[in-house]
Protein backbone atom coordinates (compact mmCIF):
# COMPACT_ATOMS: atom_id res chain seq x y z
CA UNK A 1 0.00 0.00 0.00
CA UNK A 2 2.65 2.46 0.98
CA UNK A 3 5.01 1.45 -1.80
CA UNK A 4 7.58 4.02 -2.77
CA UNK A 5 7.24 4.87 -6.38
CA UNK A 6 9.93 5.06 -8.93
CA UNK A 7 11.33 8.55 -9.45
CA UNK A 8 9.84 9.08 -12.87
CA UNK A 9 6.20 8.21 -13.17
CA UNK A 10 4.23 7.44 -16.23
CA UNK A 11 1.36 9.84 -15.53
CA UNK A 12 3.72 12.79 -15.35
CA UNK A 13 5.66 11.96 -18.45
CA UNK A 14 2.43 11.48 -20.32
CA UNK A 15 1.32 14.94 -19.28
CA UNK A 16 4.45 16.74 -20.30
CA UNK A 17 5.58 14.51 -23.07
CA UNK A 18 9.09 14.62 -21.60
CA UNK A 19 10.83 13.05 -18.68
CA UNK A 20 10.82 15.22 -15.64
CA UNK A 21 14.10 17.02 -15.09
CA UNK A 22 14.02 16.63 -11.34
CA UNK A 23 13.08 13.22 -10.01
CA UNK A 24 10.30 13.24 -7.45
CA UNK A 25 11.36 11.85 -4.15
CA UNK A 26 8.32 11.63 -1.98
CA UNK A 27 5.73 8.93 -1.71
CA UNK A 28 2.53 9.45 -3.66
CA UNK A 29 -0.45 9.83 -1.36
CA UNK A 30 -3.11 10.51 -3.95
CA UNK A 31 -3.18 9.32 -7.54
CA UNK A 32 -5.96 10.58 -9.75
CA UNK A 33 -6.23 8.50 -12.91
CA UNK A 34 -8.28 9.68 -15.88
CA UNK A 35 -10.83 11.37 -13.65
CA UNK A 36 -13.76 12.91 -15.48
CA UNK A 37 -16.53 14.87 -13.79
CA UNK A 38 -19.91 15.71 -15.28
CA UNK A 39 -22.67 17.88 -13.87
CA UNK A 40 -25.58 16.34 -15.75
CA UNK A 41 -24.82 16.97 -19.43
CA UNK A 42 -22.01 19.41 -18.74
CA UNK A 43 -18.47 18.06 -18.39
CA UNK A 44 -16.55 20.13 -15.83
CA UNK A 45 -13.21 18.44 -16.55
CA UNK A 46 -12.03 15.42 -18.49
CA UNK A 47 -9.30 12.81 -18.05
CA UNK A 48 -7.29 14.45 -15.33
CA UNK A 49 -4.35 12.33 -14.24
CA UNK A 50 -2.52 13.90 -11.36
CA UNK A 51 -0.25 12.37 -8.74
CA UNK A 52 -0.01 14.18 -5.42
CA UNK A 53 3.01 13.69 -3.21
CA UNK A 54 2.87 13.21 0.51
CA UNK A 55 3.80 16.14 2.78
CA UNK A 56 4.12 18.59 -0.03
CA UNK A 57 2.13 21.51 -1.32
CA UNK A 58 0.55 21.11 -4.72
CA UNK A 59 -0.89 24.24 -6.30
CA UNK A 60 -3.70 24.09 -8.87
CA UNK A 61 -3.89 27.15 -11.07
CA UNK A 62 -5.94 28.02 -14.11
CA UNK A 63 -8.65 30.33 -15.39
CA UNK A 64 -12.07 30.55 -13.79
CA UNK A 65 -14.40 27.68 -14.60
CA UNK A 66 -11.69 25.17 -15.54
CA UNK A 67 -12.79 22.79 -12.80
CA UNK A 68 -10.32 23.40 -9.97
CA UNK A 69 -12.94 23.49 -7.23
CA UNK A 70 -14.73 20.54 -8.75
CA UNK A 71 -11.50 18.56 -8.77
CA UNK A 72 -10.93 19.28 -5.09
CA UNK A 73 -14.40 18.17 -4.15
CA UNK A 74 -13.79 14.82 -5.86
CA UNK A 75 -10.90 14.19 -3.52
CA UNK A 76 -13.15 14.04 -0.45
CA UNK A 77 -16.31 12.97 -2.27
CA UNK A 78 -18.10 16.22 -1.50
CA UNK A 79 -19.36 15.78 -5.05
CA UNK A 80 -21.86 13.34 -3.49
CA UNK A 81 -23.84 16.36 -2.31
CA UNK A 82 -24.75 17.28 -5.88
CA UNK A 83 -27.39 14.96 -7.26
CA UNK A 84 -26.47 15.44 -10.91
CA UNK A 85 -22.77 15.08 -10.41
CA UNK A 86 -21.03 11.99 -11.79
CA UNK A 87 -17.34 11.18 -11.38
CA UNK A 88 -15.56 8.46 -13.37
CA UNK A 89 -12.00 7.19 -13.41
CA UNK A 90 -10.17 6.28 -10.24
CA UNK A 91 -8.61 8.20 -7.37
CA UNK A 92 -6.24 6.16 -5.26
CA UNK A 93 -5.85 7.54 -1.77
CA UNK A 94 -3.25 5.61 0.14
CA UNK A 95 -3.77 2.81 -2.36
CA UNK A 96 -7.57 2.59 -2.05
CA UNK A 97 -9.91 3.80 -4.75
CA UNK A 98 -12.11 6.39 -3.05
CA UNK A 99 -14.57 6.55 -5.94
CA UNK A 100 -15.88 3.07 -5.12
CA UNK A 101 -19.47 3.25 -3.88
CA UNK A 102 -18.88 1.50 -0.55
CA UNK A 103 -16.13 3.78 0.74
CA UNK A 104 -16.58 5.10 4.31
CA UNK A 105 -17.20 8.67 3.18
CA UNK A 106 -17.36 10.17 6.67
CA UNK A 107 -13.96 8.83 7.57
CA UNK A 108 -12.58 9.85 4.18
CA UNK A 109 -13.75 13.40 4.80
CA UNK A 110 -12.12 13.40 8.19
CA UNK A 111 -8.83 12.35 6.59
CA UNK A 112 -9.18 14.75 3.67
CA UNK A 113 -10.19 18.17 4.98
CA UNK A 114 -11.60 20.78 2.62
CA UNK A 115 -11.38 24.51 3.24
CA UNK A 116 -13.68 26.59 1.11
CA UNK A 117 -13.08 29.81 -0.75
CA UNK A 118 -15.61 31.63 1.39
CA UNK A 119 -14.99 31.12 5.12
CA UNK A 120 -17.93 29.11 6.41
CA UNK A 121 -17.93 28.69 10.17
CA UNK A 122 -21.02 27.00 11.54
CA UNK A 123 -23.49 29.31 13.34
CA UNK A 124 -22.17 28.17 16.70
CA UNK A 125 -19.59 29.47 19.13
CA UNK A 126 -15.89 29.41 18.28
CA UNK A 127 -15.35 26.51 20.65
CA UNK A 128 -18.30 24.49 19.36
CA UNK A 129 -17.07 24.92 15.80
CA UNK A 130 -14.02 22.93 16.83
CA UNK A 131 -15.55 20.50 19.31
CA UNK A 132 -18.67 19.48 17.41
CA UNK A 133 -16.78 17.73 14.57
CA UNK A 134 -14.36 16.26 17.10
CA UNK A 135 -17.18 14.79 19.16
CA UNK A 136 -18.67 13.46 15.96
CA UNK A 137 -15.47 11.53 15.36
CA UNK A 138 -15.40 10.05 18.83
CA UNK A 139 -13.45 12.49 21.00
CA UNK A 140 -15.66 12.84 24.05
CA UNK A 141 -13.38 13.85 26.90
CA UNK A 142 -13.84 17.53 27.76
CA UNK A 143 -10.33 18.12 29.10
CA UNK A 144 -8.87 16.52 26.00
CA UNK A 145 -11.15 18.63 23.81
CA UNK A 146 -10.07 21.83 25.55
CA UNK A 147 -6.42 20.98 25.04
CA UNK A 148 -7.11 20.25 21.42
CA UNK A 149 -8.98 23.52 20.93
CA UNK A 150 -6.04 25.44 22.29
CA UNK A 151 -3.41 23.58 20.31
CA UNK A 152 -5.13 23.92 16.92
CA UNK A 153 -5.90 27.58 17.53
CA UNK A 154 -2.22 28.10 18.33
CA UNK A 155 -1.34 26.24 15.12
CA UNK A 156 -3.32 28.66 13.00
CA UNK A 157 -2.19 31.69 15.01
CA UNK A 158 -5.65 32.50 16.31
CA UNK A 159 -5.27 31.63 19.97
CA UNK A 160 -4.16 35.03 21.22
CA UNK A 161 -6.92 36.75 19.33
CA UNK A 162 -9.79 34.61 20.60
CA UNK A 163 -8.68 33.04 23.89
CA UNK A 164 -11.02 35.34 25.87
CA UNK A 165 -14.07 34.77 23.75
CA UNK A 166 -14.13 31.11 22.83
CA UNK A 167 -17.83 30.99 23.63
CA UNK A 168 -18.88 33.92 21.49
CA UNK A 169 -20.31 33.36 17.99
CA UNK A 170 -17.81 32.33 15.34
CA UNK A 171 -19.67 34.43 12.78
CA UNK A 172 -18.65 37.55 14.70
CA UNK A 173 -15.00 37.01 13.74
CA UNK A 174 -13.42 38.89 10.87
CA UNK A 175 -13.09 37.16 7.51
CA UNK A 176 -9.43 36.30 7.98
CA UNK A 177 -10.07 35.01 11.49
CA UNK A 178 -12.99 32.95 10.23
CA UNK A 179 -10.82 31.40 7.54
CA UNK A 180 -8.13 30.49 10.07
CA UNK A 181 -10.85 29.03 12.30
CA UNK A 182 -11.98 26.89 9.37
CA UNK A 183 -8.41 25.68 8.87
CA UNK A 184 -8.15 24.97 12.61
CA UNK A 185 -11.41 23.06 12.48
CA UNK A 186 -10.10 20.89 9.67
CA UNK A 187 -6.70 20.16 11.25
CA UNK A 188 -8.31 19.39 14.61
CA UNK A 189 -9.52 16.18 12.99
CA UNK A 190 -5.90 15.20 12.28
CA UNK A 191 -6.38 14.75 8.56
CA UNK A 192 -3.69 13.51 6.18
CA UNK A 193 -4.66 15.90 3.43
CA UNK A 194 -5.81 19.51 3.41
CA UNK A 195 -7.60 20.79 0.35
CA UNK A 196 -7.67 24.58 0.19
CA UNK A 197 -9.92 26.27 -2.35
CA UNK A 198 -8.63 29.80 -2.88
CA UNK A 199 -8.37 30.27 0.88
CA UNK A 200 -7.06 33.82 0.60
CA UNK A 201 -9.20 35.24 -2.15
CA UNK A 202 -11.83 36.73 0.15
CA UNK A 203 -9.23 38.32 2.43
CA UNK A 204 -7.35 41.59 2.55
CA UNK A 205 -3.59 41.46 1.76
CA UNK A 206 -2.56 41.34 5.41
CA UNK A 207 -4.93 38.57 6.51
CA UNK A 208 -4.09 36.82 3.27
CA UNK A 209 -0.40 36.97 4.18
CA UNK A 210 -1.13 35.59 7.64
CA UNK A 211 -3.19 32.71 6.27
CA UNK A 212 -0.53 31.98 3.65
CA UNK A 213 2.21 31.82 6.27
CA UNK A 214 0.11 29.41 8.30
CA UNK A 215 -0.42 27.19 5.31
CA UNK A 216 3.29 27.16 4.53
CA UNK A 217 4.02 26.25 8.14
CA UNK A 218 1.72 23.23 7.91
CA UNK A 219 3.50 21.69 4.94
CA UNK A 220 5.60 19.21 6.90
CA UNK A 221 2.64 17.70 8.65
CA UNK A 222 0.03 17.55 5.92
CA UNK A 223 -0.31 16.92 2.26
CA UNK A 224 -1.74 20.14 0.91
CA UNK A 225 -3.52 20.84 -2.35
CA UNK A 226 -4.23 24.51 -2.83
CA UNK A 227 -6.22 26.23 -5.57
CA UNK A 228 -5.10 29.77 -6.15
CA UNK A 229 -5.44 32.54 -8.69
CA UNK A 230 -2.38 34.18 -7.24
CA UNK A 231 0.59 32.84 -9.21
CA UNK A 232 3.06 34.61 -6.95
CA UNK A 233 1.53 32.76 -4.04
CA UNK A 234 1.80 29.43 -5.81
CA UNK A 235 5.41 30.21 -6.56
CA UNK A 236 6.13 31.12 -2.95
CA UNK A 237 4.62 28.14 -1.21
CA UNK A 238 4.01 25.26 -3.64
CA UNK A 239 6.39 22.38 -4.28
CA UNK A 240 4.55 21.35 -7.39
CA UNK A 241 2.23 23.33 -9.61
CA UNK A 242 -0.41 22.12 -12.03
CA UNK A 243 -2.21 24.15 -14.67
CA UNK A 244 -5.75 23.33 -15.73
CA UNK A 245 -7.19 24.81 -18.88
CA UNK A 246 -10.54 24.71 -20.65
CA UNK A 247 -10.38 22.90 -23.96
CA UNK A 248 -13.51 21.87 -25.93
CA UNK A 249 -15.69 23.16 -23.12
CA UNK A 250 -14.12 21.01 -20.42
CA UNK A 251 -11.16 21.36 -18.10
CA UNK A 252 -7.91 19.53 -18.88
CA UNK A 253 -4.59 19.20 -17.16
CA UNK A 254 -2.08 21.12 -19.25
CA UNK A 255 1.09 20.93 -17.28
CA UNK A 256 2.29 19.53 -14.02
CA UNK A 257 5.83 20.11 -12.75
CA UNK A 258 7.89 21.07 -9.73
CA UNK A 259 7.18 24.72 -9.09
CA UNK A 260 10.64 26.01 -10.11
CA UNK A 261 10.51 24.34 -13.49
CA UNK A 262 6.86 25.21 -13.93
CA UNK A 263 7.66 28.89 -13.70
CA UNK A 264 11.19 28.99 -15.12
CA UNK A 265 11.00 26.56 -17.98
CA UNK A 266 7.39 25.73 -18.79
CA UNK A 267 7.05 22.97 -21.35
CA UNK A 268 3.74 24.09 -22.81
CA UNK A 269 3.02 27.28 -24.69
CA UNK A 270 -0.23 27.78 -22.78
CA UNK A 271 1.65 27.65 -19.51
CA UNK A 272 4.22 30.15 -20.69
CA UNK A 273 1.51 32.47 -21.93
CA UNK A 274 -0.49 32.09 -18.73
CA UNK A 275 2.47 32.88 -16.51
CA UNK A 276 3.43 35.75 -18.80
CA UNK A 277 -0.10 37.15 -18.92
CA UNK A 278 -0.57 36.93 -15.21
CA UNK A 279 2.76 38.62 -14.66
CA UNK A 280 2.27 41.46 -17.12
Amino acid sequence: MSALHEPVMTPITSVNGDDLPTPLRRRLLIEANCVTLCYGQHTAFRDITLPIEENSITALVGPSGCGKSSFLSCLNRLTDLYKQCKVTGSILFDGDDILRPNVDVLNLRRRVGLIFQKPNPLPLSIRENLTLPLREHGHGNTAELNRKVESVLVDVGLWDEVRDRLDSPALALSGGQQQRLCIARAIALEPDVLLLDEPCSALDPISSGVVEDRIASLRDRYTIVIVTHNLAQARRIADTTALLWVRDGAGHLVEYAPTREFFESPQQEITAAYIQGARG
Partner: protein, 284 residues
Protein backbone atom coordinates in the same frame (compact mmCIF):
# COMPACT_ATOMS: atom_id res chain seq x y z
CA UNK B 1 -44.61 70.16 -16.99
CA UNK B 2 -48.17 68.91 -16.68
CA UNK B 3 -46.85 65.39 -16.72
CA UNK B 4 -44.55 66.10 -13.79
CA UNK B 5 -47.41 67.51 -11.77
CA UNK B 6 -49.55 64.47 -12.49
CA UNK B 7 -46.72 62.21 -11.32
CA UNK B 8 -46.47 64.13 -8.09
CA UNK B 9 -50.22 63.85 -7.64
CA UNK B 10 -50.09 60.15 -8.27
CA UNK B 11 -47.41 59.71 -5.59
CA UNK B 12 -49.48 61.73 -3.18
CA UNK B 13 -52.60 59.65 -3.85
CA UNK B 14 -50.70 56.39 -3.34
CA UNK B 15 -49.16 57.69 -0.13
CA UNK B 16 -52.47 58.91 1.26
CA UNK B 17 -54.24 55.66 0.39
CA UNK B 18 -51.64 53.39 1.96
CA UNK B 19 -51.41 55.55 5.06
CA UNK B 20 -55.17 55.65 5.45
CA UNK B 21 -55.38 51.89 5.17
CA UNK B 22 -52.63 51.38 7.70
CA UNK B 23 -54.11 53.85 10.14
CA UNK B 24 -57.55 52.29 9.73
CA UNK B 25 -56.16 48.87 10.64
CA UNK B 26 -54.36 50.31 13.65
CA UNK B 27 -57.47 52.17 14.78
CA UNK B 28 -59.61 49.04 14.60
CA UNK B 29 -57.03 47.15 16.66
CA UNK B 30 -56.71 49.86 19.29
CA UNK B 31 -60.49 50.26 19.48
CA UNK B 32 -60.91 46.54 20.01
CA UNK B 33 -58.26 46.45 22.68
CA UNK B 34 -59.62 49.53 24.41
CA UNK B 35 -63.12 48.07 24.39
CA UNK B 36 -61.90 44.87 26.04
CA UNK B 37 -59.79 46.72 28.59
CA UNK B 38 -62.55 49.17 29.53
CA UNK B 39 -65.16 46.43 29.74
CA UNK B 40 -63.04 43.98 31.69
CA UNK B 41 -60.56 45.82 33.87
CA UNK B 42 -63.05 46.46 36.69
CA UNK B 43 -63.67 42.76 37.26
CA UNK B 44 -60.07 41.70 36.92
CA UNK B 45 -58.42 40.73 40.19
CA UNK B 46 -56.37 37.98 41.73
CA UNK B 47 -59.48 36.23 43.03
CA UNK B 48 -60.96 36.30 39.53
CA UNK B 49 -58.00 34.20 38.38
CA UNK B 50 -58.02 31.82 41.34
CA UNK B 51 -61.72 31.16 42.03
CA UNK B 52 -64.13 28.77 40.40
CA UNK B 53 -67.08 30.31 38.48
CA UNK B 54 -70.37 30.59 40.34
CA UNK B 55 -73.90 31.21 39.17
CA UNK B 56 -73.13 29.96 35.60
CA UNK B 57 -70.16 32.28 35.41
CA UNK B 58 -71.87 35.52 36.38
CA UNK B 59 -69.92 35.55 39.62
CA UNK B 60 -66.69 33.97 40.80
CA UNK B 61 -63.62 33.53 38.68
CA UNK B 62 -62.16 31.41 35.91
CA UNK B 63 -59.55 29.19 37.59
CA UNK B 64 -60.80 25.83 36.23
CA UNK B 65 -61.14 27.35 32.79
CA UNK B 66 -57.55 28.56 32.82
CA UNK B 67 -56.37 25.11 33.90
CA UNK B 68 -58.41 23.35 31.22
CA UNK B 69 -57.16 25.73 28.56
CA UNK B 70 -53.56 25.27 29.61
CA UNK B 71 -53.97 21.49 29.58
CA UNK B 72 -55.62 21.52 26.15
CA UNK B 73 -52.79 23.68 24.79
CA UNK B 74 -50.19 21.43 26.39
CA UNK B 75 -51.71 18.31 24.84
CA UNK B 76 -51.87 20.11 21.50
CA UNK B 77 -48.20 21.14 21.61
CA UNK B 78 -46.90 17.83 22.92
CA UNK B 79 -48.65 16.06 20.07
CA UNK B 80 -47.99 18.51 17.26
CA UNK B 81 -44.45 19.79 17.83
CA UNK B 82 -42.54 16.49 17.49
CA UNK B 83 -44.74 15.38 14.60
CA UNK B 84 -44.30 18.62 12.70
CA UNK B 85 -40.55 18.76 13.39
CA UNK B 86 -40.14 15.31 11.93
CA UNK B 87 -42.25 16.14 8.89
CA UNK B 88 -40.51 19.47 8.34
CA UNK B 89 -37.08 17.82 8.50
CA UNK B 90 -38.20 15.21 6.00
CA UNK B 91 -39.55 17.86 3.66
CA UNK B 92 -36.64 20.28 3.96
CA UNK B 93 -33.67 17.93 4.14
CA UNK B 94 -34.59 14.68 2.49
CA UNK B 95 -36.91 15.57 -0.35
CA UNK B 96 -35.97 17.87 -3.22
CA UNK B 97 -37.95 21.11 -3.29
CA UNK B 98 -39.53 20.25 -6.64
CA UNK B 99 -39.97 16.48 -6.15
CA UNK B 100 -43.36 14.79 -6.53
CA UNK B 101 -43.54 13.59 -2.94
CA UNK B 102 -42.69 16.96 -1.46
CA UNK B 103 -45.18 18.70 -3.73
CA UNK B 104 -48.01 16.34 -2.80
CA UNK B 105 -47.36 16.63 0.94
CA UNK B 106 -47.02 20.40 0.76
CA UNK B 107 -50.22 20.80 -1.27
CA UNK B 108 -52.15 18.59 1.17
CA UNK B 109 -50.88 20.67 4.08
CA UNK B 110 -52.01 23.87 2.37
CA UNK B 111 -55.46 22.41 1.80
CA UNK B 112 -55.56 21.28 5.43
CA UNK B 113 -54.60 24.76 6.59
CA UNK B 114 -57.61 26.19 4.78
CA UNK B 115 -60.17 23.79 6.26
CA UNK B 116 -62.64 25.62 8.56
CA UNK B 117 -62.20 24.77 12.21
CA UNK B 118 -65.76 23.48 12.56
CA UNK B 119 -64.79 20.65 10.20
CA UNK B 120 -61.84 19.81 12.43
CA UNK B 121 -64.26 19.85 15.34
CA UNK B 122 -66.54 17.33 13.66
CA UNK B 123 -63.59 15.18 12.68
CA UNK B 124 -62.26 15.30 16.24
CA UNK B 125 -65.66 14.37 17.60
CA UNK B 126 -66.01 11.43 15.22
CA UNK B 127 -62.44 10.19 15.51
CA UNK B 128 -61.02 11.04 18.94
CA UNK B 129 -64.24 11.13 20.98
CA UNK B 130 -66.04 8.20 19.39
CA UNK B 131 -63.70 5.97 17.38
CA UNK B 132 -60.86 6.15 19.89
CA UNK B 133 -63.34 6.32 22.75
CA UNK B 134 -61.77 9.35 24.45
CA UNK B 135 -65.17 10.99 24.90
CA UNK B 136 -65.56 14.71 25.61
CA UNK B 137 -62.16 15.28 27.11
CA UNK B 138 -59.19 17.56 27.27
CA UNK B 139 -57.28 14.88 25.38
CA UNK B 140 -59.75 14.87 22.49
CA UNK B 141 -59.72 18.66 22.34
CA UNK B 142 -55.94 18.92 22.46
CA UNK B 143 -55.47 16.30 19.76
CA UNK B 144 -58.04 17.99 17.52
CA UNK B 145 -56.21 21.28 17.91
CA UNK B 146 -52.95 19.49 17.13
CA UNK B 147 -54.38 18.39 13.77
CA UNK B 148 -55.41 21.96 13.16
CA UNK B 149 -52.05 23.60 13.82
CA UNK B 150 -49.92 20.91 12.14
CA UNK B 151 -49.89 22.54 8.70
CA UNK B 152 -48.88 25.90 10.14
CA UNK B 153 -46.10 24.44 12.26
CA UNK B 154 -44.75 22.23 9.51
CA UNK B 155 -44.69 24.93 6.86
CA UNK B 156 -43.01 27.57 9.04
CA UNK B 157 -40.39 25.09 10.24
CA UNK B 158 -39.73 23.84 6.73
CA UNK B 159 -39.37 27.36 5.36
CA UNK B 160 -37.04 28.20 8.22
CA UNK B 161 -34.78 25.25 7.46
CA UNK B 162 -34.83 25.78 3.72
CA UNK B 163 -33.84 29.41 4.11
CA UNK B 164 -30.60 28.42 5.88
CA UNK B 165 -27.48 28.84 3.81
CA UNK B 166 -26.23 25.70 2.06
CA UNK B 167 -22.78 26.69 3.34
CA UNK B 168 -23.68 25.14 6.68
CA UNK B 169 -24.59 21.83 5.08
CA UNK B 170 -21.45 21.82 2.93
CA UNK B 171 -19.21 22.80 5.84
CA UNK B 172 -20.65 20.07 8.04
CA UNK B 173 -20.40 17.46 5.29
CA UNK B 174 -16.79 18.41 4.56
CA UNK B 175 -16.00 17.77 8.23
CA UNK B 176 -17.34 14.25 7.95
CA UNK B 177 -20.38 14.94 10.09
CA UNK B 178 -23.47 12.78 9.71
CA UNK B 179 -26.76 14.15 8.42
CA UNK B 180 -28.29 13.56 11.85
CA UNK B 181 -25.73 15.64 13.74
CA UNK B 182 -25.89 18.32 11.08
CA UNK B 183 -29.67 18.56 11.38
CA UNK B 184 -29.94 18.46 15.16
CA UNK B 185 -26.82 20.33 16.21
CA UNK B 186 -26.44 22.85 13.41
CA UNK B 187 -29.54 23.38 11.27
CA UNK B 188 -32.33 23.16 13.85
CA UNK B 189 -30.63 25.56 16.30
CA UNK B 190 -30.03 27.99 13.46
CA UNK B 191 -33.66 27.69 12.39
CA UNK B 192 -34.93 28.16 15.94
CA UNK B 193 -36.21 31.72 15.41
CA UNK B 194 -38.56 30.56 12.66
CA UNK B 195 -39.56 27.58 14.78
CA UNK B 196 -40.55 30.01 17.51
CA UNK B 197 -42.55 32.13 15.11
CA UNK B 198 -44.43 29.02 14.03
CA UNK B 199 -44.99 28.08 17.65
CA UNK B 200 -46.35 31.52 18.56
CA UNK B 201 -48.69 31.52 15.58
CA UNK B 202 -50.01 28.08 16.43
CA UNK B 203 -50.43 28.83 20.13
CA UNK B 204 -52.36 31.91 19.05
CA UNK B 205 -54.48 29.95 16.65
CA UNK B 206 -55.08 27.15 19.14
CA UNK B 207 -56.02 29.37 22.06
CA UNK B 208 -58.38 31.39 19.90
CA UNK B 209 -60.18 28.26 18.81
CA UNK B 210 -63.75 27.75 19.91
CA UNK B 211 -65.72 25.78 17.34
CA UNK B 212 -63.41 22.77 17.28
CA UNK B 213 -63.42 22.55 21.06
CA UNK B 214 -67.14 22.66 21.78
CA UNK B 215 -67.46 19.30 20.04
CA UNK B 216 -64.42 17.69 21.59
CA UNK B 217 -63.54 19.10 25.01
CA UNK B 218 -67.07 19.97 25.95
CA UNK B 219 -68.06 22.79 28.29
CA UNK B 220 -68.03 21.46 31.78
CA UNK B 221 -66.67 24.32 33.88
CA UNK B 222 -65.43 22.24 36.81
CA UNK B 223 -61.75 21.84 37.63
CA UNK B 224 -60.54 18.87 35.52
CA UNK B 225 -58.97 16.06 37.52
CA UNK B 226 -57.32 14.30 34.59
CA UNK B 227 -56.80 14.59 30.84
CA UNK B 228 -59.79 12.31 30.35
CA UNK B 229 -62.09 14.85 31.97
CA UNK B 230 -64.11 17.31 30.01
CA UNK B 231 -62.82 20.86 30.36
CA UNK B 232 -64.07 24.24 29.21
CA UNK B 233 -61.61 26.23 27.12
CA UNK B 234 -61.36 29.97 27.67
CA UNK B 235 -62.93 30.96 24.35
CA UNK B 236 -65.82 28.59 24.95
CA UNK B 237 -66.33 30.28 28.31
CA UNK B 238 -66.39 33.72 26.70
CA UNK B 239 -68.85 32.55 24.08
CA UNK B 240 -71.09 30.96 26.70
CA UNK B 241 -71.09 34.05 28.93
CA UNK B 242 -71.76 36.35 26.02
CA UNK B 243 -74.55 34.34 24.43
CA UNK B 244 -76.16 32.01 26.95
CA UNK B 245 -75.83 33.81 30.27
CA UNK B 246 -77.79 37.03 30.73
CA UNK B 247 -75.75 39.31 32.97
CA UNK B 248 -72.50 37.55 32.08
CA UNK B 249 -71.15 40.31 29.86
CA UNK B 250 -68.83 41.83 32.44
CA UNK B 251 -67.18 38.52 33.20
CA UNK B 252 -66.99 37.76 29.48
CA UNK B 253 -65.04 40.98 29.05
CA UNK B 254 -62.73 40.22 31.94
CA UNK B 255 -62.08 36.73 30.58
CA UNK B 256 -61.33 38.11 27.15
CA UNK B 257 -58.91 40.55 28.72
CA UNK B 258 -57.12 37.67 30.44
CA UNK B 259 -56.86 35.82 27.12
CA UNK B 260 -55.47 38.83 25.27
CA UNK B 261 -52.93 39.53 27.99
CA UNK B 262 -51.83 35.91 28.14
CA UNK B 263 -51.30 35.91 24.36
CA UNK B 264 -49.30 39.13 24.53
CA UNK B 265 -47.12 37.71 27.29
CA UNK B 266 -46.51 34.41 25.49
CA UNK B 267 -45.71 36.31 22.33
CA UNK B 268 -43.17 38.63 23.86
CA UNK B 269 -41.48 35.99 26.00
CA UNK B 270 -41.10 33.69 23.01
CA UNK B 271 -39.70 36.33 20.71
CA UNK B 272 -37.36 37.54 23.45
CA UNK B 273 -36.08 33.99 23.88
CA UNK B 274 -35.64 33.69 20.14
CA UNK B 275 -33.70 36.93 19.92
CA UNK B 276 -31.45 35.92 22.75
CA UNK B 277 -30.74 32.58 21.17
CA UNK B 278 -30.03 34.22 17.85
CA UNK B 279 -27.59 36.65 19.39
CA UNK B 280 -25.80 33.82 21.16
CA UNK B 281 -25.01 31.92 18.00
CA UNK B 282 -25.39 34.21 15.01
CA UNK B 283 -24.73 37.89 14.60
CA UNK B 284 -26.44 39.65 11.83
Amino acid sequence: MAKGRWNRWRDAIVAVTTWTAAILVAVVFVWLLADIVIGGIAKLSWTFLTEAPRDAGRAGGIAPILVSTALILAVCMVASVPLSLATAILLAEFTPADGIFGRVVRRSLDVLAGVPSIVFGLFGYAFFCNTLGLGFSILSGGLTLACMVLPLLIRTTEEGMRSLSDDYRRAAAALGMTRTTTIFKVLLPAALPSLIVGLILSIGRASAETAALIFTSGYVDRMPSSLWDSGRAITVHILDLAINVPGGTENAYATALVLVMALLIINSVASWLGQRWLRRSIVR
